[in-house]
């Protein structure tokens, strides 16, 4: 049986891990290579590395970090941030990423998802969606550019479309919950689960392992968290022990 993945997320800026609240007020949280290695030894199932300040100028720095994290790991590595063209994805894969996450560029140019999927295979393509609750609280809109820009696109429609275009999985982040520690947006996960058949990685809001259990029950195939791991509140091992005790199938080593 396929196990539920526990995925620490490294948000990287200028070569260091950073973490903020709703993508703002970033604070330093360590070296990506050292933290990635630590999380693997704790039992992480995968590492996601997002370059939150990826720019064309920063491209070579980003590739160096990916290469050095790759050498430290023997588990899968997903990398995102500033992927605008097929060539950007290709460079990340060559540097050592196993999967590539696309966000803003895919919203602006959905065909990018299709091209990536055709070129590298669906299993290589993660579409990252940052979803914000609309003022009426009954739907979610997609935000891009690290949450700074709303784009009048319904998150459920975009998730469904992304799956049709060739996304291998959806990295679903609740903008409202990011870094806040109030639990994942369970209704969002449940709603997206109904419209896609590819795996969903739930992201944004985890404060403790029980939040992850709720996200899994709502239909997440993997749960991603940053702050609770970086701050040392819980190790990956502790999270997995809790989930195993709650009858979630996890990989215990």
């Amino acid at each position: 049986m396929l196990t539920t993945r526990i995925i620490p997320c490294l948000d990287v800026k200028d070569g260091r891990i950073v973490k903020g609240v709703r993508f703002q007020n970033l604070r330093d949280a360590g070296s990506p290579t050292e933290q990635a290695r630590l999380y693997e030894t704790q039992g992480a199932d995968e590492i996601v590395l997002l370059d939150v300040a990826a720019t064309p100028d920063g491209r070579s720095t980003q590739l160096d970090i990916v290469a050095s994290v790759r050498v430290a790991l023997s588990i899968p590595l997903t990398v995102g941030g500033g992927v605008r063209r097929v060539e950007d994805a290709s460079a990340l894969l060559d540097a050592g990423a196993d999967k590539v996450a696309v966000n803003s560029a895919a919203v602006r140019n959905p065909e990018l998802v299709q091209r990536l999927s055709e070129r590298f295979g669906r299993q290589c393509v993660v579409v990252a969606i940052d979803a914000r609750r609309s003022p009426d609280a009954r739907s979610w809109e997609v935000v891009i550019q690290s949450g700074s820009q709303a784009c009048d696109l319904d998150a459920l429609e975009w998730a469904k479309r992304a799956g049709e275009l060739g996304a291998g999985e959806i990295l679903l982040t609740s903008w409202d919950r990011d870094g806040v520690g109030e639990g994942y947006d369970i209704e969002l996960i449940r709603a997206v689960r109904k419209v896609v058949n590819v795996p969903i990685i739930a992201s944004g809001g985890a404060a403790d392992p029980e939040d992850m259990k709720q996200a899994i029950d709502a239909g997440a195939d993997a749960v991603l968290a940053a702050s609770i791991f970086h701050d040392g509140r819980f190790s990956v091992r502790e999270v997995k022990a809790h989930l195993a005790g709650r009858r979630v199938e996890v990989r215990l080593s």
């Binding site: 049986m1 290469a67 023997s74 899968p76 590595l77 299993q123």
Partner: protein, 220 residues
């Protein structure tokens, strides 16, 4: 560590991400060479056939480089060969993914798509069960000699065991499928051993060592 001077030849099948497998092999102390030359691949001591991407593109790549004969020959001659993911499927007769593309045919099975009752692709860690359902006709696996969790990223898989002396370990996703198959010095994995943590690294290391030294007993 397996032999200090061992060189492993990796076939860079088109679109595959090679960094992870190359990194894993180097970490185990081997030299890594890349080659699409059929003569070099025929002569190499250890060959890795990775594979990510579509079946049709993978087979076309092998045929464009005239590698079909060299690969079939070394597998039939029991030369150390490791096929990963799409690489394993390419050893079979073919795939539902590309009905017109003939596989190498050294494994008598055919890849089919997971049903829509499960999420496709299968992305994540699944249990590899060793020894269950093994019969006297199918000797126990030498390389995959302990059960564990392996990382998968696939939409297609082999459901039938290939027979012909291949020993299989199985995983379950919408029913049993072939997790890996081995015969002599040849190991084919549907999962990615290079991304399967400590368990996967130990597997690659056993293949490097046992495939090189012949029939010695497994050490785990």
């Amino acid at each position: 560590m397996p032999g200090d001077s061992l060189t492993v030849t990796v076939v860079p099948t088109g679109v595959a991400n090679l960094a992870s497998i190359v990194t894993a092999l180097r970490r185990l102390g081997t030299e890594v060479a890349m080659s699409v030359n059929p003569v070099e691949i025929g002569a190499a001591s250890h060959v890795v056939l990775p594979g990510v991407g579509s079946y049709a593109a993978g087979i076309r790549y092998l045929d464009d480089h005239d590698l079909r004969g060299a690969l079939v020959e070394r597998i039939e001659a029991d030369r150390p060969t490791l096929a990963v993911c799409l690489g394993m499927q390419m050893l079979s007769r073919g795939s539902e993914e590309a009905p017109g593309a003939a596989g190498l045919g050294v494994m008598n099975a055919r890849a089919t798509r997971f049903p829509g009752t499960v999420r496709v692709p299968q992305l994540g860690w699944n249990r590899v069960a060793v020894g269950e359902g093994a019969t006297d006709a199918a000797p126990h696996c030498r390389f995959v000699c302990e059960s564990g969790y392996a990382y998968y990223a696939n939409s297609y898989r082999l459901v039938e065991r290939p027979g012909d002396g291949w020993s299989c370990a199985m995983s379950d996703y919408a029913g049993p499928f072939v997790a890996c198959a081995e015969r002599g010095s040849v190991l084919a994995c549907q999962f990615h051993p290079e991304l399967s943590g400590v368990w996967g690294m130990a597997l690659i290391e056993r293949w490097l060592r046992l495939a090189q030294t012949g029939k010695e007993a497994p050490t785990c």
